[in-house]
């Protein structure tokens, strides 16, 4: 048995990744490059918000302090968020949004595939429910990575730039820390180093088809999973939490 505070921290990682990426994608709504893609990005945002609610509700239950999903989403400060740095990066142009999504989906799919075998039954149930959605996200972001990478001169160069900007945040997803190891030892989550080869292979295959190149020898940033974030998260929360902060304790 892992201590409930450790499980809580782990659940926050899952919930906060989905929440913050969903929040970012929600910024696109009404501003997409074409109506069909506006709808598609909103779809992914909706899936992610739905997943975030399940994870955060379970996290709140685990903490046993009578909190709700909304308390966790709207009343924690940045240092208490446990999402990876990648998902809080700005939308940028459509290329940045697609590369961010692609790197996240490639890893998130492999993770959830394994979480479907988690020793924790509730994690297993949430992962099973989410996996179909994430499979669709991965298909979407992979197809657009290929399409834009192998599209025009301009689109290829925008995608390569996005990859160079964002690749440095990919490593945090699959490099384990103590908490990841502890969860893996307890049979709750997979060993991240065992996921990594397949995830990297998937990424390389798609990027090759997209005629894009993985930046060589890049330093991998980390810290989000432990609560040390980029400057962006504070602004995301300032916006997201505004109503709950301005009018505390009300029903909406």
């Amino acid at each position: 048995m892992v201590p409930s505070t450790r499980l809580y921290d782990y659940l926050l990682r899952l919930g906060d990744n989905a929440l913050i990426l969903g929040q970012r994608l929600g910024e696109w709504c009404g501003h997409g490059p074409v109506l069909e893609q506006d709808i598609a990005l909103t779809n992914i945002a909706l899936d992610l918000i739905g997943q975030a609610r399940l994870w955060l509700e379970y996290a709140a239950q685990t903490a046993g302090k009578g909190q709700t999903e909304d308390d966790l989403a709207f009343l924690r400060d940045a240092g208490a968020f446990r999402n990876a740095l990648l998902v809080e990066q700005p939308n940028g142009d459509f290329a940045h949004t697609i590369i961010r999504q692609f790197l996240f989906d490639a890893w998130n799919f492999a993770l959830h595939e394994d979480l479907c075998n988690s020793g924790d039954l509730q994690i297993r149930a949430i992962a099973e429910k989410s996996l179909k959605e994430i499979a669709y996200h991965r298909k979407y972001s992979s197809e657009w990575t290929i399409r834009l990478g192998d599209g025009t001169e301009e689109s290829r160069s925008r995608m390569q730039t996005a990859l160079e900007d964002l690749w440095t945040y990919a490593g945090e997803l699959w490099n384990p820390d103590d908490l990841d190891r502890e969860m893996a030892e307890a049979g709750i989550s997979p060993h991240l180093e065992r996921l990594q080869p397949a995830v990297e292979k998937y990424i390389r295959d798609i990027l090759t088809e997209a005629t894009l190149e993985i930046p060589a020898g890049t330093w991998m940033q980390s810290g989000g999973k432990q609560g040390r974030h980029s400057e962006h998260l504070g602004y995301i929360l300032a916006e997201m939490q505004f109503l709950q902060r301005a009018y505390p304790g009300l029903e909406w």
């Binding site: 009404g30 074409v34 918000i49 459509f94 599209g151 916006e239 009018y247 009300l250």
Partner: protein, 317 residues
């Protein structure tokens, strides 16, 4: 068949309440009227995403955030069906968008007002989607088949939006004093623009008579407006907030609510482009379109490459 005979046959089809379909002969003016109306309607759906989208990142809880995302996404879907309906009349979406972006085509003026508080999201669902339903339910029986069928799908979703908006208002009105004040303020600001959504008074309305004859329009602007008032005022009463109209009162003899004069100067001023948000709404649409051009070009270039590669493979095999 002579032109006169064709026109007779066309009008007889309409009078028999049968549908005109894309391949049927139709007078140019009928086609033009439909293109104008359907494209305006499509533009309204996508410009309408902006004021509501404005609150997605600030929705007060996760349930509301998901519901609002889904709602705004529905509006995008409505835009898609309507652009498709318009394409059956021989105009491509790209051309219609150019007309929107150049300011040549109009969209519903209601979306030129700002969403200032969360209560505006409730008020829009309740009043704006409510008025849209009033306008659109008769269009489900419109003489042009593809438009009528699109409206059937759209109306189902609009009535869901309307209930959802009203439920937001209800939650606010049962909440704190601040929340109730927020709801009242939203009603104050959205009420009159919502009444204006039905268009000018019947005696000022330029397109109405011919549209009635073609059964594109079935009920007059003033009648629809009256129905909306009669439906909505009791709903405001139930919420415990007041419609901002000192002349509003129940008329026992007519069985309707009487209401005060509409400020048509404001209406025409906003139509002309002087509403609080006309410029920024249009700019946001133009910007999204322009910034998306490299994406659309790349998608076409890629599709073309794939086609060529498939042809090459077929040649080799």
């Amino acid at each position: 068949m002579s032109r006169e005979r064709m026109e007779e046959y066309f009008q007889a089809t309409i009078d028999a309440d049968q549908k005109i379909e894309p391949k049927d002969w139709m007078p140019d003016a009928y086609r033009k009227t439909l293109i104008r109306q359907i494209s305006q309607h499509a533009h309204s759906e996508i410009v309408g995403m902006l004021p509501e989208g404005n609150w997605i990142t600030r929705a007060p809880n996760l349930r509301r955030k998901a519901a609002l995302l889904a709602k705004v996404q529905d509006e995008a879907g409505h835009g898609l069906y309507l652009y498709s309906a318009c394409e059956t009349l021989g105009v491509e979406r790209e051309e219609l968008l150019d007309q929107l972006h150049s300011g040549q085509a109009k969209y519903s003026s209601i979306f030129n007002y700002p969403t200032l508080t969360w209560a505006d999201i409730g008020a829009i669902g309740w009043l704006v989607d409510g008025a849209a339903i009033m306008n659109q339910v008769p269009l489900c029986r419109c003489s042009y088949g593809p438009y009528a069928r699109a409206m059937v799908r759209i109306c189902k979703e609009e009535s869901f939006h309307q209930r959802q908006g009203y439920e937001i208002m209800l939650t606010l009105c049962r909440g704190s004093d601040e929340q109730k004040a927020m709801a009242q303020d939203a009603l104050n600001r959205w009420w009159w623009p919502a009444l204006m959504m039905f268009g000018p008074n019947d005696k000022e309305s330029t397109h109405s008579e011919q549209s009635m004859k073609w059964r594109i329009k079935r009920i007059s602007n003033d009648e629809l407006r009256q129905r909306f008032v009669d439906m909505t005022v009791p709903q405001a009463d139930f919420l415990g907030i007041q419609v901002p109209d000192p002349d509003m009162k129940w008329n026992e003899s007519t069985g309707h609510y009487d209401f005060g004069p509409i400020n048509w100067d404001e209406f025409w001023n906003v139509v002309k482009g002087n509403g609080p948000c006309n410029r920024e709404r249009l700019k946001a649409r133009v910007q999204a379109h322009e910034e998306g051009s490299w994406v659309r070009e790349a998608a076409m270039a890629y599709a073309e490459k794939r086609k060529q590669r498939a042809e090459e493979r077929a040649r080799v095999a």
